[in-house]
């Protein structure tokens, strides 16, 4: 049985800006601020709801930052869970159509 894929989508309730290597994200619901480093930024930019997290990690993280797949995937899941807890990302086991908000 194939492992379930994870799809991540940026929340519409955020404001976001890239300064230098960092991406700064603010929740417009409670003004909480998150600062993503370059690896976090790579995952964030791939969070289009259509690309599986495993593909984002493989293409954006492993290739660009020279880390192994298992290690990168474990860190990415932790990162995604953290942002999802704060409503910055939404997580789905199915691809999300453009404009569809979970």
């Amino acid at each position: 049985m194939a492992a379930t894929e994870t799809y991540i989508t940026q929340s519409p309730d955020i404001a976001c800006s890239t300064l230098g290597d960092d991406t700064i994200i603010m929740s417009t619901l409670d003004s909480t601020i998150f600062v993503l480093n370059s690896v976090g930024t790579a995952i964030w930019q791939g969070a289009d709801g259509a690309t599986p997290l495993s593909r984002i990690v493989q293409d954006k993280v492993c290739l660009e930052f020279d880390v192994t797949g298992d290690e990168a995937m474990a860190d990415a899941k932790e990162f995604v869970d953290e942002l999802a807890r704060h409503g910055i990302l939404s997580v789905s086991s199915q691809p999300v159509s453009p404009g569809e908000v979970l």
């Binding site: 309730d13 404001a15 800006s17 300064l19 230098g20 960092d22 700064i24 603010m26 417009t28 619901l29 003004s31 601020i33 600062v35």
Partner: protein, 270 residues
């Protein structure tokens, strides 16, 4: 003109940050309060962008414990606090304020209106003292007790103070300018009514020595946002303020200024 002709108007045009607002009242005593509070910022010759009609009421009309709230209703901004109630329609270019005859309520209404106006233009009000030296403006920001007024008090004679408490930042043609404000802190005196391009923002920290340290942009944005005044919590307003702070940090050098409270700190500010 909002008042019927039977009532005598005692109107005052207050121009802060290049934005003239006519405060309309029929009370001569309140007009005197306004002229005293906003001396240096009265511009009778300016064409007002809009008018605020002040309706004086008794203090007990309000719920004294109510914190400031700002929201949109029927396409108008509504503002309420324990000492005033106000509405402002940008489209109609007019508003109305209910308050008692004191300078603090109208001062708060003006601050809120200016933050709303500035937000759509990439500017903001920020808890900071500011000053002009050699044609350049410098902002000194921090929370209460960080040293905003102390820095202002230590300024040498070639420095023009814009405010010791609330700085006015406007974006004009992709450059940021600081304007003098009458919004005073412990000084109790309005700042000079002048403006200059902003050369740097210093985030204050009291220390045993004077030192300037560069800040990571993300740290600068976080700390700047803590000090920007914003009262409205609608998502689009929050987004505008956030984007304004990020754009400001991308364009203006932001440092941490650790300082020992004596005049030598100004040797670093040029």
């Amino acid at each position: 003109m909002l008042f019927p002709k039977s009532e005598e108007a005692h109107n005052v045009v207050i121009e802060i940050g290049g934005l003239p607002i006519e405060v309309q009242t029929t009370d001569a005593g309140f007009e005197r309060i306004l002229r005293g509070r906003y001396r240096g910022y009265i511009n009778a010759g300016a064409a007002p962008e809009f008018a605020l009609r002040v309706q004086l009421t008794q203090p007990e009309t309000f719920d004294a414990d109510r914190d400031a709230e700002v929201w949109v209703e029927d396409r108008e901004w509504r503002m309420e606090r324990g000492d005033f109630r106000a509405r402002w329609s940008p489209a109609q270019r007019e508003g109305q304020v209910f308050q008692s005859a004191n300078p603090y309520s109208i001062d708060s209404v003006l601050r809120i209106v200016h933050t709303l106006m500035l937000a759509s233009q990439g500017g903001f009000l920020v808890h900071a003292s500011s000053a002009v030296r050699n044609g350049k403006a410098f902002l000194f920001s921090g929370v209460s007790e960080a040293g905003k007024t102390t820095i202002a008090r230590l300024a040498p004679s070639d420095v023009t103070l814009l405010t010791d408490e609330t700085s006015y930042v406007r974006k004009v043609d992709w450059r940021y300018f600081a304007y003098g404000t009458p919004f005073a802190g412990e000084f109790g005196e309005p700042g000079a009514n002048v403006s200059a391009p902003i050369a740097a923002l210093y985030l204050l920290k009291k220390a045993d020595e004077n030192r300037i340290d560069a800040l990571e942009p993300s740290v600068a944005v976080r700390r700047l946002l803590r000090n920007i005044l914003f009262f409205a919590h609608q998502a689009d307003m929050v987004r505008q303020v956030f984007e304004s702070a990020c754009a400001f940090v991308a364009a203006v050098p932001v440092f941490q200024l650790s300082f020992f409270p004596d005049q030598r700190v100004w040797d670093l500010i040029r």
